[in-house]
Symmetry: C2
Subunit: 195 residues, 2 copies
DNA sequence: CGTCTATTTGAATGTACTCAAAAGCGGTGG
DNA sequence: CCACCGCTTTTGAGTACATTCAAATAGACG
Protein backbone atom coordinates (compact mmCIF):
# COMPACT_ATOMS: atom_id res chain seq x y z
CA UNK A 1 0.00 0.00 0.00
CA UNK A 2 2.95 2.29 0.63
CA UNK A 3 3.61 1.84 -3.08
CA UNK A 4 0.97 4.47 -3.56
CA UNK A 5 3.23 6.94 -1.79
CA UNK A 6 6.25 5.84 -3.77
CA UNK A 7 4.54 6.34 -7.10
CA UNK A 8 3.18 9.66 -5.85
CA UNK A 9 6.71 10.88 -5.21
CA UNK A 10 8.17 9.46 -8.38
CA UNK A 11 5.45 10.99 -10.50
CA UNK A 12 5.85 14.38 -8.83
CA UNK A 13 9.60 14.63 -9.23
CA UNK A 14 9.47 12.83 -12.58
CA UNK A 15 12.21 10.49 -11.44
CA UNK A 16 12.57 6.98 -9.98
CA UNK A 17 13.66 6.47 -6.38
CA UNK A 18 16.02 3.71 -5.36
CA UNK A 19 14.65 1.23 -2.81
CA UNK A 20 17.06 2.69 -0.27
CA UNK A 21 15.81 6.21 -0.92
CA UNK A 22 12.20 5.24 -0.55
CA UNK A 23 12.89 3.21 2.60
CA UNK A 24 14.64 6.23 4.02
CA UNK A 25 11.75 8.50 3.02
CA UNK A 26 9.09 6.34 4.56
CA UNK A 27 11.02 5.85 7.81
CA UNK A 28 10.07 9.42 8.75
CA UNK A 29 6.35 8.57 8.61
CA UNK A 30 4.00 6.47 10.67
CA UNK A 31 0.75 4.93 9.52
CA UNK A 32 -2.51 5.81 11.20
CA UNK A 33 -6.18 4.92 10.72
CA UNK A 34 -9.10 7.27 11.30
CA UNK A 35 -12.78 6.57 11.63
CA UNK A 36 -15.42 8.43 9.68
CA UNK A 37 -15.85 11.93 11.13
CA UNK A 38 -12.46 11.79 12.88
CA UNK A 39 -10.78 15.19 13.11
CA UNK A 40 -7.33 15.55 11.53
CA UNK A 41 -6.83 19.30 11.99
CA UNK A 42 -8.79 21.75 14.08
CA UNK A 43 -9.30 25.50 13.96
CA UNK A 44 -7.56 27.18 16.88
CA UNK A 45 -5.29 24.21 17.54
CA UNK A 46 -1.79 23.75 16.24
CA UNK A 47 -1.71 21.37 13.30
CA UNK A 48 1.17 19.02 13.94
CA UNK A 49 0.98 16.70 10.96
CA UNK A 50 0.85 16.36 7.23
CA UNK A 51 -1.24 13.46 5.95
CA UNK A 52 -0.90 11.35 2.83
CA UNK A 53 -4.07 9.33 2.27
CA UNK A 54 -3.61 5.66 1.47
CA UNK A 55 -7.37 5.06 1.44
CA UNK A 56 -10.60 6.78 2.36
CA UNK A 57 -11.48 10.45 1.98
CA UNK A 58 -11.23 13.70 3.92
CA UNK A 59 -11.93 17.39 3.49
CA UNK A 60 -10.85 20.71 4.96
CA UNK A 61 -13.18 23.57 5.70
CA UNK A 62 -13.26 27.08 7.03
CA UNK A 63 -15.91 28.38 9.44
CA UNK A 64 -16.71 32.07 9.17
CA UNK A 65 -18.05 34.43 11.84
CA UNK A 66 -21.63 33.35 11.13
CA UNK A 67 -20.65 29.74 11.73
CA UNK A 68 -21.02 28.75 8.09
CA UNK A 69 -18.75 26.07 6.65
CA UNK A 70 -16.85 26.58 3.41
CA UNK A 71 -14.99 23.65 1.92
CA UNK A 72 -11.35 24.43 1.08
CA UNK A 73 -10.06 21.11 -0.16
CA UNK A 74 -10.97 17.48 -0.72
CA UNK A 75 -8.58 14.57 -0.47
CA UNK A 76 -8.89 10.89 -1.35
CA UNK A 77 -6.25 8.18 -1.61
CA UNK A 78 -3.05 9.47 -3.18
CA UNK A 79 -3.69 13.05 -1.97
CA UNK A 80 -1.87 15.11 0.64
CA UNK A 81 -3.80 17.17 3.15
CA UNK A 82 -3.05 19.41 6.13
CA UNK A 83 -3.51 22.94 7.44
CA UNK A 84 -0.43 24.39 5.77
CA UNK A 85 -0.71 27.67 7.60
CA UNK A 86 -0.65 26.10 11.01
CA UNK A 87 1.79 23.33 10.16
CA UNK A 88 4.45 25.70 8.86
CA UNK A 89 3.89 28.69 11.11
CA UNK A 90 3.21 26.55 14.19
CA UNK A 91 0.38 28.93 15.04
CA UNK A 92 -3.22 27.91 15.82
CA UNK A 93 -4.97 26.40 12.80
CA UNK A 94 -7.40 28.18 10.51
CA UNK A 95 -9.22 25.16 9.17
CA UNK A 96 -10.81 21.91 10.21
CA UNK A 97 -9.97 18.67 8.44
CA UNK A 98 -12.31 15.74 8.85
CA UNK A 99 -12.52 12.16 7.59
CA UNK A 100 -15.42 11.67 5.19
CA UNK A 101 -14.88 7.95 5.16
CA UNK A 102 -12.77 5.68 7.35
CA UNK A 103 -9.24 6.36 6.19
CA UNK A 104 -5.65 5.23 6.40
CA UNK A 105 -2.86 7.77 6.16
CA UNK A 106 0.89 8.05 6.23
CA UNK A 107 1.59 10.78 8.74
CA UNK A 108 4.63 12.97 9.33
CA UNK A 109 5.22 15.55 12.07
CA UNK A 110 7.07 18.83 11.73
CA UNK A 111 10.33 17.66 13.25
CA UNK A 112 10.50 14.71 10.88
CA UNK A 113 9.41 16.85 7.97
CA UNK A 114 12.34 19.17 8.55
CA UNK A 115 14.73 16.27 9.04
CA UNK A 116 13.43 14.55 5.91
CA UNK A 117 13.91 17.67 3.83
CA UNK A 118 17.48 18.04 5.14
CA UNK A 119 18.32 14.38 4.69
CA UNK A 120 18.10 14.37 0.92
CA UNK A 121 17.76 17.20 -1.51
CA UNK A 122 15.40 15.12 -3.63
CA UNK A 123 12.87 15.06 -0.81
CA UNK A 124 12.95 18.79 -0.37
CA UNK A 125 12.45 19.12 -4.09
CA UNK A 126 9.48 16.80 -3.87
CA UNK A 127 7.68 18.92 -1.30
CA UNK A 128 8.52 22.07 -3.20
CA UNK A 129 6.90 20.73 -6.36
CA UNK A 130 3.91 19.53 -4.39
CA UNK A 131 3.44 23.02 -3.05
CA UNK A 132 3.98 24.57 -6.48
CA UNK A 133 1.29 22.37 -7.98
CA UNK A 134 -1.12 23.16 -5.17
CA UNK A 135 -0.47 26.88 -5.59
CA UNK A 136 -1.02 26.74 -9.32
CA UNK A 137 -4.28 24.84 -8.91
CA UNK A 138 -5.51 27.34 -6.31
CA UNK A 139 -4.71 30.30 -8.51
CA UNK A 140 -6.67 28.73 -11.34
CA UNK A 141 -9.55 28.05 -8.98
CA UNK A 142 -9.66 31.72 -7.95
CA UNK A 143 -9.63 32.79 -11.58
CA UNK A 144 -12.58 30.50 -12.30
CA UNK A 145 -14.53 31.35 -9.14
CA UNK A 146 -14.35 35.03 -9.96
CA UNK A 147 -14.99 34.80 -13.68
CA UNK A 148 -17.52 32.01 -14.21
CA UNK A 149 -21.08 31.40 -13.12
CA UNK A 150 -21.93 28.51 -10.84
CA UNK A 151 -23.16 26.24 -13.63
CA UNK A 152 -19.92 26.47 -15.58
CA UNK A 153 -17.84 26.03 -12.48
CA UNK A 154 -19.74 22.86 -11.67
CA UNK A 155 -19.44 21.50 -15.19
CA UNK A 156 -15.71 22.14 -15.33
CA UNK A 157 -15.20 20.69 -11.88
CA UNK A 158 -17.24 17.58 -12.62
CA UNK A 159 -15.26 17.15 -15.79
CA UNK A 160 -11.86 17.60 -14.14
CA UNK A 161 -12.53 15.68 -10.93
CA UNK A 162 -15.18 13.05 -11.71
CA UNK A 163 -13.81 10.82 -8.93
CA UNK A 164 -14.69 13.51 -6.38
CA UNK A 165 -18.20 13.98 -7.76
CA UNK A 166 -18.84 10.28 -7.37
CA UNK A 167 -17.65 9.96 -3.80
CA UNK A 168 -18.35 13.23 -2.08
CA UNK A 169 -21.77 14.38 -0.85
CA UNK A 170 -23.32 16.99 -3.07
CA UNK A 171 -23.71 19.59 -0.33
CA UNK A 172 -19.94 19.56 0.17
CA UNK A 173 -19.28 19.92 -3.55
CA UNK A 174 -21.66 22.88 -3.50
CA UNK A 175 -19.74 24.46 -0.65
CA UNK A 176 -16.46 23.91 -2.46
CA UNK A 177 -17.90 25.68 -5.50
CA UNK A 178 -19.08 28.56 -3.33
CA UNK A 179 -22.83 27.93 -3.65
CA UNK A 180 -25.66 26.50 -1.50
CA UNK A 181 -26.74 22.85 -1.83
CA UNK A 182 -30.19 23.89 -3.07
CA UNK A 183 -28.58 25.86 -5.86
CA UNK A 184 -26.39 22.97 -6.94
CA UNK A 185 -29.41 20.70 -6.95
CA UNK A 186 -31.22 23.11 -9.28
CA UNK A 187 -28.17 23.47 -11.50
CA UNK A 188 -27.89 19.71 -11.85
CA UNK A 189 -31.59 19.44 -12.65
CA UNK A 190 -31.23 22.07 -15.34
CA UNK A 191 -28.23 20.30 -16.86
CA UNK A 192 -30.04 16.94 -16.81
CA UNK A 193 -33.10 18.46 -18.54
CA UNK A 194 -30.92 19.65 -21.40
CA UNK A 195 -30.53 16.01 -22.55
CA UNK B 1 17.48 50.32 -3.94
CA UNK B 2 18.51 46.67 -4.03
CA UNK B 3 18.37 46.92 -0.26
CA UNK B 4 14.67 46.43 -0.66
CA UNK B 5 15.40 42.98 -2.01
CA UNK B 6 17.87 42.24 0.74
CA UNK B 7 15.41 43.11 3.48
CA UNK B 8 12.73 41.16 1.66
CA UNK B 9 14.87 38.04 1.80
CA UNK B 10 16.03 38.57 5.35
CA UNK B 11 12.51 39.14 6.59
CA UNK B 12 11.23 36.06 4.77
CA UNK B 13 13.84 33.65 6.07
CA UNK B 14 13.97 35.45 9.44
CA UNK B 15 17.74 35.61 9.23
CA UNK B 16 20.45 38.06 8.20
CA UNK B 17 22.49 37.53 5.05
CA UNK B 18 26.20 38.26 4.89
CA UNK B 19 27.26 40.82 2.30
CA UNK B 20 28.87 38.02 0.34
CA UNK B 21 25.68 36.00 0.36
CA UNK B 22 23.59 38.90 -0.82
CA UNK B 23 26.11 39.84 -3.52
CA UNK B 24 26.00 36.27 -4.71
CA UNK B 25 22.22 36.26 -4.65
CA UNK B 26 21.85 39.43 -6.62
CA UNK B 27 24.43 38.42 -9.21
CA UNK B 28 21.83 36.05 -10.68
CA UNK B 29 19.47 38.95 -11.41
CA UNK B 30 19.41 41.86 -13.80
CA UNK B 31 17.56 45.11 -13.35
CA UNK B 32 14.94 46.21 -15.87
CA UNK B 33 12.55 49.12 -16.24
CA UNK B 34 9.09 48.93 -17.75
CA UNK B 35 6.76 51.65 -18.92
CA UNK B 36 3.17 51.87 -17.88
CA UNK B 37 1.14 49.21 -19.69
CA UNK B 38 4.24 47.17 -20.52
CA UNK B 39 3.57 43.43 -20.61
CA UNK B 40 5.59 41.23 -18.25
CA UNK B 41 3.85 37.91 -18.89
CA UNK B 42 1.42 36.92 -21.59
CA UNK B 43 -1.22 34.24 -21.95
CA UNK B 44 -0.16 31.62 -24.45
CA UNK B 45 3.51 32.59 -24.28
CA UNK B 46 6.13 30.98 -22.11
CA UNK B 47 6.86 33.08 -19.06
CA UNK B 48 10.64 33.21 -18.75
CA UNK B 49 11.12 35.44 -15.73
CA UNK B 50 10.26 36.11 -12.11
CA UNK B 51 10.07 39.78 -11.17
CA UNK B 52 10.78 41.51 -7.89
CA UNK B 53 9.43 45.05 -7.97
CA UNK B 54 11.74 47.79 -6.76
CA UNK B 55 9.22 50.49 -7.61
CA UNK B 56 5.95 50.93 -9.47
CA UNK B 57 3.01 48.56 -9.65
CA UNK B 58 1.77 45.66 -11.73
CA UNK B 59 -1.05 43.15 -11.82
CA UNK B 60 -1.83 39.74 -13.25
CA UNK B 61 -5.13 38.77 -14.80
CA UNK B 62 -6.93 35.90 -16.40
CA UNK B 63 -9.10 36.22 -19.50
CA UNK B 64 -11.97 33.77 -19.76
CA UNK B 65 -13.72 32.45 -22.88
CA UNK B 66 -16.00 35.49 -22.99
CA UNK B 67 -12.97 37.77 -23.03
CA UNK B 68 -13.59 39.08 -19.52
CA UNK B 69 -10.61 39.99 -17.35
CA UNK B 70 -10.29 38.74 -13.79
CA UNK B 71 -7.50 40.09 -11.64
CA UNK B 72 -5.42 37.39 -9.97
CA UNK B 73 -2.76 39.38 -8.15
CA UNK B 74 -1.44 42.86 -7.53
CA UNK B 75 2.18 43.77 -6.91
CA UNK B 76 3.90 46.96 -5.84
CA UNK B 77 7.46 47.58 -4.68
CA UNK B 78 8.73 44.77 -2.47
CA UNK B 79 6.42 42.21 -4.11
CA UNK B 80 7.27 39.26 -6.34
CA UNK B 81 5.21 38.54 -9.42
CA UNK B 82 5.20 36.06 -12.30
CA UNK B 83 3.09 33.40 -13.98
CA UNK B 84 4.16 30.55 -11.71
CA UNK B 85 2.47 27.93 -13.84
CA UNK B 86 4.31 28.88 -16.98
CA UNK B 87 7.60 29.72 -15.31
CA UNK B 88 7.90 26.35 -13.58
CA UNK B 89 6.25 24.10 -16.15
CA UNK B 90 7.78 25.96 -19.10
CA UNK B 91 4.44 25.65 -20.84
CA UNK B 92 2.47 28.54 -22.42
CA UNK B 93 1.28 31.04 -19.83
CA UNK B 94 -2.23 31.24 -18.39
CA UNK B 95 -2.17 34.86 -17.29
CA UNK B 96 -1.19 38.31 -18.41
CA UNK B 97 0.92 40.55 -16.20
CA UNK B 98 0.99 44.26 -16.94
CA UNK B 99 2.63 47.36 -15.47
CA UNK B 100 0.08 49.67 -13.85
CA UNK B 101 2.71 52.34 -13.36
CA UNK B 102 6.23 52.71 -14.74
CA UNK B 103 8.22 50.16 -12.78
CA UNK B 104 11.68 48.92 -11.98
CA UNK B 105 12.25 45.26 -11.26
CA UNK B 106 14.98 42.80 -10.43
CA UNK B 107 14.53 39.98 -12.91
CA UNK B 108 15.70 36.38 -12.91
CA UNK B 109 15.32 33.75 -15.62
CA UNK B 110 14.69 30.05 -15.11
CA UNK B 111 18.27 28.94 -15.65
CA UNK B 112 19.56 31.39 -13.08
CA UNK B 113 16.72 30.57 -10.73
CA UNK B 114 17.71 26.92 -10.75
CA UNK B 115 21.40 27.76 -10.39
CA UNK B 116 20.63 30.17 -7.55
CA UNK B 117 18.64 27.56 -5.67
CA UNK B 118 21.46 25.05 -6.09
CA UNK B 119 24.16 27.51 -5.11
CA UNK B 120 23.04 27.98 -1.54
CA UNK B 121 20.51 26.11 0.46
CA UNK B 122 19.39 29.35 2.09
CA UNK B 123 18.20 30.68 -1.25
CA UNK B 124 16.18 27.59 -1.98
CA UNK B 125 14.64 27.94 1.47
CA UNK B 126 13.80 31.54 0.70
CA UNK B 127 11.83 30.70 -2.42
CA UNK B 128 10.11 27.84 -0.65
CA UNK B 129 8.87 30.14 2.11
CA UNK B 130 7.79 32.72 -0.44
CA UNK B 131 5.70 30.08 -2.15
CA UNK B 132 4.32 28.83 1.16
CA UNK B 133 3.19 32.30 2.12
CA UNK B 134 1.61 32.86 -1.26
CA UNK B 135 -0.21 29.54 -1.01
CA UNK B 136 -1.50 30.29 2.47
CA UNK B 137 -2.76 33.72 1.42
CA UNK B 138 -4.53 32.23 -1.60
CA UNK B 139 -6.23 29.57 0.46
CA UNK B 140 -7.52 32.21 2.82
CA UNK B 141 -8.73 34.28 -0.11
CA UNK B 142 -10.71 31.34 -1.45
CA UNK B 143 -12.26 30.77 1.96
CA UNK B 144 -13.33 34.42 2.12
CA UNK B 145 -14.51 34.62 -1.48
CA UNK B 146 -16.77 31.63 -0.98
CA UNK B 147 -18.08 32.52 2.45
CA UNK B 148 -18.51 36.30 2.58
CA UNK B 149 -20.58 38.81 0.68
CA UNK B 150 -18.94 41.42 -1.49
CA UNK B 151 -19.24 44.23 1.07
CA UNK B 152 -17.41 42.29 3.76
CA UNK B 153 -14.77 41.13 1.33
CA UNK B 154 -14.13 44.71 0.33
CA UNK B 155 -13.98 45.94 3.92
CA UNK B 156 -11.55 43.22 4.94
CA UNK B 157 -9.44 43.78 1.87
CA UNK B 158 -9.31 47.54 2.34
CA UNK B 159 -8.36 46.98 5.94
CA UNK B 160 -5.61 44.45 5.18
CA UNK B 161 -4.18 46.09 2.07
CA UNK B 162 -4.82 49.84 2.38
CA UNK B 163 -1.75 50.60 0.23
CA UNK B 164 -3.37 48.75 -2.68
CA UNK B 165 -6.68 50.56 -2.29
CA UNK B 166 -4.87 53.87 -2.51
CA UNK B 167 -2.87 53.10 -5.61
CA UNK B 168 -4.89 50.76 -7.73
CA UNK B 169 -7.88 51.76 -9.88
CA UNK B 170 -11.17 50.79 -8.37
CA UNK B 171 -12.33 48.71 -11.32
CA UNK B 172 -9.31 46.45 -10.84
CA UNK B 173 -9.96 46.10 -7.12
CA UNK B 174 -13.54 45.14 -8.04
CA UNK B 175 -12.28 42.50 -10.44
CA UNK B 176 -9.90 41.14 -7.80
CA UNK B 177 -12.83 40.83 -5.39
CA UNK B 178 -14.90 39.05 -8.04
CA UNK B 179 -17.47 41.80 -8.64
CA UNK B 180 -18.21 44.44 -11.29
CA UNK B 181 -16.96 48.04 -10.95
CA UNK B 182 -20.53 49.35 -10.71
CA UNK B 183 -21.19 47.05 -7.78
CA UNK B 184 -18.08 48.16 -5.93
CA UNK B 185 -19.04 51.78 -6.51
CA UNK B 186 -22.44 51.12 -4.92
CA UNK B 187 -20.89 49.20 -2.04
CA UNK B 188 -18.53 52.08 -1.31
CA UNK B 189 -21.38 54.54 -1.47
CA UNK B 190 -23.38 52.48 1.00
CA UNK B 191 -20.40 52.26 3.37
CA UNK B 192 -19.81 56.01 3.13
CA UNK B 193 -23.47 56.74 3.88
CA UNK B 194 -23.23 54.77 7.10
CA UNK B 195 -21.03 57.52 8.62
C1' DC C 1 -9.27 72.76 -23.45
C1' DG C 2 -10.55 68.28 -25.46
C1' DT C 3 -10.30 63.41 -25.36
C1' DC C 4 -10.10 59.20 -23.19
C1' DT C 5 -10.80 56.54 -19.23
C1' DA C 6 -12.77 55.73 -14.68
C1' DT C 7 -16.51 56.29 -11.57
C1' DT C 8 -21.16 57.07 -10.34
C1' DT C 9 -26.06 56.64 -10.78
C1' DG C 10 -30.60 54.80 -12.46
C1' DA C 11 -33.79 51.22 -13.95
C1' DA C 12 -34.68 46.59 -15.17
C1' DT C 13 -33.10 41.82 -15.00
C1' DG C 14 -31.06 37.52 -13.44
C1' DT C 15 -28.69 34.43 -10.52
C1' DA C 16 -28.32 32.55 -6.32
C1' DC C 17 -30.20 32.73 -1.54
C1' DT C 18 -33.63 32.08 2.25
C1' DC C 19 -37.27 29.79 4.30
C1' DA C 20 -40.03 25.92 4.21
C1' DA C 21 -41.43 21.43 3.28
C1' DA C 22 -41.44 17.08 0.86
C1' DA C 23 -39.12 13.21 -1.01
C1' DG C 24 -35.27 10.05 -1.15
C1' DC C 25 -31.77 7.22 0.93
C1' DG C 26 -29.10 4.62 4.28
C1' DG C 27 -28.30 2.73 8.49
C1' DT C 28 -30.00 0.76 12.95
C1' DG C 29 -32.65 -1.68 16.03
C1' DG C 30 -36.74 -4.11 17.17
C1' DC D 1 -37.13 -7.93 7.33
C1' DC D 2 -39.40 -4.00 8.10
C1' DA D 3 -40.12 0.44 10.53
C1' DC D 4 -38.10 4.31 11.97
C1' DC D 5 -34.80 7.99 12.29
C1' DG D 6 -31.47 11.11 10.64
C1' DC D 7 -29.32 13.08 6.97
C1' DT D 8 -29.16 14.45 2.00
C1' DT D 9 -31.37 16.01 -1.97
C1' DT D 10 -35.13 18.05 -4.30
C1' DT D 11 -38.74 21.35 -5.06
C1' DG D 12 -41.54 25.67 -4.42
C1' DA D 13 -42.24 30.55 -3.49
C1' DG D 14 -40.50 34.87 -2.35
C1' DT D 15 -36.35 37.81 -1.72
C1' DA D 16 -31.78 39.92 -1.99
C1' DC D 17 -27.64 40.86 -4.02
C1' DA D 18 -25.14 41.68 -7.92
C1' DT D 19 -25.43 42.23 -12.99
C1' DT D 20 -26.63 44.42 -17.37
C1' DC D 21 -27.54 48.21 -20.14
C1' DA D 22 -27.43 52.95 -20.44
C1' DA D 23 -26.11 57.47 -19.54
C1' DA D 24 -24.19 61.17 -16.82
C1' DT D 25 -20.40 62.90 -14.19
C1' DA D 26 -15.72 63.16 -12.75
C1' DG D 27 -10.76 62.80 -13.42
C1' DA D 28 -6.39 62.23 -15.79
C1' DC D 29 -3.37 63.27 -19.49
C1' DG D 30 -1.63 65.27 -23.44
Amino acid sequence: MENLLRSNIEKTIAQQLTDAEFDSFISFFFKKSFEKRAVLTEEGKKCKYVYFLLSGAAYSYYINDEGEKTVIQFAIENYWITDQYSFFSEKPGLYFTEALEPLEAMVINRENYDALCCSNHLFEKFFRILLQNAFIALQYRIAKTNSEEAERRYLEYADTYPHFIQRIPQYLIASFLGIKPQSLSRIRKKIAEQH
